[in-house]
């Protein structure tokens, strides 16, 4: 039996009050496991990104709880939550959010810099990560000199450079062509996912469903069910 990495219990998020109250996520409960690549899928406005934000310590829920590694995430102080994000979560944003003025290696090194590691150490680790994602030798280039697929790899390198236990990818293939998108997600599955890591991917790109271990459907803020993807080894 796989161990739960993330446990969401009746998570709800709404905006507005009274008659204007609108639920973005309503009483979502589920578990994600170590060694699992879990997809969260659903149409636009179904609450995928809101749920992902609550799971990763970015958006405080109105009710419910998130337990990660035995800790109740939303009982922590703001500073502790920031530290949690810094040390436990790796983010790959939909638009990458790479810093255009920094070199590729400096972009990758940012989480380590936020962890107060020295620049020398951070850049060395960044170079190793760039090698892992197949961008060895491109560390000195600015991100805008790279293709979309390469930029996505840089974002992934930045997300894993500090060895987080949980990786969160928001629409990782949204700005990539089909072939590149498949390559990227395949790479994440084979090279990044380990038995001590849990990966959450928000997507509605059905072309990459084949790489998932489980697919969680959402609609109108509710979890509609789970589809089994590719079996995983816990």
């Amino acid at each position: 039996m796989a161990t739960a990495a993330i446990m969401a219990n009746k998570l709800s998020k709404w905006f507005g009050e009274g008659v204007a109250r609108t639920y973005a996520v309503r009483e979502a409960s589920f578990e994600a496991y170590w060694g699992e690549m879990l997809y969260i899928v659903g149409p636009s406005g179904s609450g995928k990104t809101t749920l992902l934000s609550m799971l990763s310590g970015i958006l405080r829920p109105n009710s419910g709880s998130v337990t990660i590694d035995g800790r109740n995430l939303w009982s922590l102080s703001d500073d502790e939550i920031a530290d949690f994000r810094l040390n436990t979560i790796g983010f790959v944003f939909q638009d990458f959010h790479l810093f255009p003025r920094l070199t590729t290696a400096e972009n990758v090194a940012i989480p380590l810099i936020l962890q107060k590691r020295s620049w020398k150490e951070a850049l060395a680790a960044a170079a190793r990560c760039l090698e892992v994602v197949g961008l060895a030798g491109k560390g000195e280039l600015p991100p805008n000199k790279l293709s979309g697929g390469e930029q996505q790899r840089v974002a992934i390198a930045r997300a894993i450079v500090h060895q987080p236990e949980i990786l969160v990818l928001d629409e990782p293939t949204a700005s990539l062509d089909g072939e590149t998108g498949r390559k990227i997600v395949s790479f994440v599955k084979t090279d990044i996912l380990t038995s001590t890591r849990c990966i959450l991917i928000v997507t509605h790109d059905s072309r990459i469903f084949e790489f998932s271990n489980r697919i969680m459907g959402m609609e109108d803020g509710r979890i509609t069910g789970f589809d089994q993807g590719v079996a995983y080894e816990a």
């Binding site: 994000r85 939909q94 959010h97 940012i110 936020l114 620049w119």
Partner: protein, 379 residues
């Protein structure tokens, strides 16, 4: 902490366009502030030139004649006797300061300031470059001051003659003084009695009484006793301050300078503030991404404070450098150019540039603290 400040430095400096605009704004503002205040400081110093050059510790004068050395109200001789009789006075001597119209060798007329030094002591005499001080006692002897106004006397040499109220004058010495005069007239030194003989005077002739106290501790008592005579005794610095206060508050020069300084500050604030704010807005999503990745709010505040402060300091240095270059170049070209960079000017410019940085930074901090990482997720 150091690591994130290096990140802040890279984010700032590598955005060359914005960084240059920020530096131009700050540098220009500091340059204008320093230029304006230095010019004013130069004017103030030159306005007190005679007080500085004569160098007496205490000046006794009519209480209503503290605005300028040239606005003296002559005092009767008994005041000199009275001052000399005060306990704590080492010596007291008369000084004449007046204006005269000289007829130069080529027949042209030139206004000049004539300073008459006490015949017995020559207290307040200048440092001579040519000639001997005793020559001042020679018939019709005058000492010309070699400052920026010296050429107006047709660059006299020892023995050069001129006319002063139908009296013959002879240059018997060339002297230098620490500070040039403000009012654009050359200066001649002679003895007190020759000065009042050659220049039409009122009934009383003593412009000032120069006092040397036995000790500095005696100064308050001397001032008190002089006040009882109905006159005013000021220390050298108090007299300079009085002249400065007059120029600052009663001539409009101070108001104009203040106005220009405020305008310079506003120019700097508008250029730097707006550019820095735009810089923050353009980088808002990156700040949001940093926040999402785990940067704390206060760390982002440090980043912004560092960026604003670093720009301010570099701009301050460049502005001071530019002002120094311009003032030096101007003084090489125009010796009479009155400008003096003082520590007060530098301090004021520093305070104003810090204010610019603070206001710019504050606006940026407000925006960055408001950004939610969730906004980055939502795109």
């Amino acid at each position: 902490m150091t690591q994130i400040l290096i990140l802040a430095y890279k984010l700032l400096v590598k955005d060359k366009g914005k960084y240059t605009a920020l530096l131009v704004g700050t540098t220009f503002s500091v340059f204008l502030i320093v230029q304006m205040t230095s010019s004013f400081a130069g004017i103030l110093t030159k306005a007190s030139a005679t007080v500085i050059n004569i160098g007496a510790k205490i000046w006794v004068m009519d209480p209503s004649a503290t605005n300028s050395v040239f606005g003296s109200i002559p005092m009767p001789d008994y005041v000199l006797d009275g001052v000399r009789s005060i306990n704590g006075v080492k010596y007291a001597v008369p000084l004449y300061v007046g204006s005269a119209l000289l007829k130069l060798h080529d027949g042209t007329y030139q206004a000049a300031t004539v300073i008459g030094l006490d015949d017995s002591s020559l207290a307040g005499r200048p440092e001579l470059l040519q000639g001997g001080i005793d020559d001042i006692f020679a018939e019709n002897g005058f000492i010309a001051v070699k400052d920026e106004e010296f050429p107006k006397l047709e660059n006299p040499k020892l023995g050069t003659e001129f006319e002063l109220n139908d009296n013959r004058g002879v240059v018997v010495g060339i002297a230098k003084v620490p500070t040039g005069a403000l009012y654009g007239t050359p200066t001649l030194y002679t003895t007190y009695y020759r000065a009042i003989q050659y220049i039409p005077s009122m009934r009383f002739t003593i412009s000032y009484i120069l006092v040397e106290p036995k000790t500095n501790a005696a100064i308050p008592y001397i001032k008190q006793q002089v006040a009882q005579l109905g006159y005013l005794a000021l220390t050298n610095q108090e007299f300079q301050d009085g002249i400065s206060q007059y120029l600052k508050y009663q001539t409009g020069i101070g108001t104009n300078t203040l106005l220009m300084t405020v305008i310079s500050f506003l120019v700097g604030l508008s250029i730097s503030g707006q550019t820095f704010y735009t810089f923050i807005i353009e980088n808002l999503e990156h700040f949001g991404a940093l926040k999402a990745m785990g940067a704390k709010g206060r760390e982002l505040v440090y980043v912004i404070i560092f960026q604003a402060g670093f720009t301010a300091l570099v701009g301050y240095g460049l502005g001071i450098g530019l002002a120094t270059v311009v003032i030096t170049a101007a003084k090489l070209r125009l010796p009479e150019y009155s400008s003096r960079v003082t520590y007060s000017n530098l301090g004021l410019a520093f305070l104003l540039v810090l204010t610019i940085a603070s206001i710019s930074g504050y606006a940026g901090v407000r925006r960055v603290l408001k950004i939610e990482p969730f906004d980055i997720f939502r795109g």
